[in-house]
């Protein structure tokens, strides 16, 4: 209170002096009085500005320390791009595998169909007693061939069908990879929200999502999904296929 009153009377004195100086035409004296009147407000402004600068500095420092954003941008995004490229090539391979099997199956099915249609026609003529002895011999030979070949060809068709069946495993394998990328996108989103919160006027310290300690600890044992070449997976100690798995298990006494 005292301080305020003191300040008020000081300002009043200064104001009176300013009026006198202006009336007397004393420009230099008036400028000096105006500067003195402004002084307390300037100090407040500078103090506020200094505090804001300090807050910003601290917030930026803590963000830099906590944030995974840099790591995400530098390592994980290029990694995710590689994973998605791998998904594209896996789906392409699976589609070719399926189409190749179909390309081979269709002519087999067509030829089976055509030959059985011809034989059926001949058979009908035989039943109607329209065939000569020579024609019947011919039919018997053709039937013999057909029965032998159709056995082999349907066997081949069955194996092409199971090729098509197995080609569909790409949906599981690429699905696991895509889910992993979705988790990464989610993490980037959370970090960006943290960044926006930091740059907002409220100057709250960003709450950046960090991998929880038990999550990193158990990560060796947790499911990862398929190993993708040219990614961070390359550093992991992984098996190269079923033979490798069998060798490892047999070394463990399996």
């Amino acid at each position: 209170m005292d301080n305020d009153e003191e300040r008020l009377s000081l300002q009043l004195d200064l104001a009176r002096r300013l009026v006198e100086q202006l009336e007397a035409g004393d420009r230099a004296g008036a400028d000096e009085s105006i500067r003195q009147l402004r002084l307390p407000y300037e100090r407040e402004l500078f103090e506020e500005l200094g505090k804001l600068t300090r807050d910003l500095h601290e917030a930026l420092n803590s963000f830099r320390g906590d944030s995974r954003l840099i790591e995400l941008t530098r390592d994980e995004i290029p990694d995710a791009k590689e994973r998605l490229n791998y998904v594209v090539s896996m789906t392409e391979q699976a589609t070719h595998r399926t189409l190749n099997a179909l390309d081979e199956s269709m002519p087999i099915a067509e030829s089976l169909h055509d030959r059985s249609a011809t034989l059926h026609e001949q058979w009908s003529r035989f039943r109607n007693r329209e065939l000569s002895v020579d024609e019947f011999r011919e039919l018997a030979r053709e039937l013999d061939d057909f029965l032998t070949q159709s056995g082999q060809e349907t066997e081949r068709l069955k194996s092409l069908m199971s090729e098509i069946l197995m080609a569909q495993d790409y949906q599981d394998l690429t699905g696991q990879i895509i889910r992993r990328v979705i988790r990464l996108v989610h993490e980037v989103e959370e970090n960006l929200v943290g960044l926006i919160r930091l740059s907002s006027a409220r100057m709250e310290l960003p709450k950046v999502a960090k991998a929880s300690p038990d999550e990193t600890e158990a990560s060796e044992i947790r499911g990862h999904g398929p190993i993708v070449p040219n990614t961070q997976d390359a550093g992991a100690d992984v098996v190269s296929g079923q033979d490798d798995v069998d060798a490892l298990l047999s070394s463990l006494g399996f």
Binding site: L165, Q171, D172, I221, R222, H224, G225, V245
Partner: protein, 126 residues
């Protein structure tokens, strides 16, 4: 022979189901992760378990451990069919008592071979 197939991808469950039918096992059921599989197993009647590893909620390795810890289920044969390829993980599964481990992508022959091997070994143990 009743077999439970556990995988979060319905496409993979269908593939395994088809392969098993080819091998003469047509009595199969499906579950989409460990937490749905475990109650099914506990309600009884299953002779064989085929499970993926990487699944939401309850992973295959946790399901395997839960099966081995359950007095009723502890001797149930378990075959893992998974894309998980880290050596540490395979060792972990072996220590948890898995009966066979197949890495994806796999072939029909591999599945047949591993199932045959599991039964051979079980028969040998009596």
């Amino acid at each position: 022979m009743k077999i439970l197939i556990v995988d979060d991808f319905s496409t993979m469950r269908r593939i395994i189901k088809n392969l098993l039918r080819e091998l003469g096992f047509s009595n199969t059921s499906e579950a989409d992760d460990g937490s749905t599989a475990l109650p099914m197993l506990k309600s009884g009647g299953f002779d064989f378990l085929i499970t993926d590893w990487n699944m939401p909620n309850m992973e295959g390795i946790a399901l395997l451990k839960a099966v081995r810890a359950d007095p009723m289920l502890k001797s149930l044969p378990v075959l893992m069919v998974t894309a998980e390829a880290k050596r540490d993980q395979i060792v972990e599964a072996a220590q948890a008592g898995v009966n066979g481990y197949i890495v994806k992508p796999f072939t029909a022959e591999t599945l047949k071979e591993k199932i045959d091997k599991i039964f051979e070994r079980l028969d040998a143990q009596g």
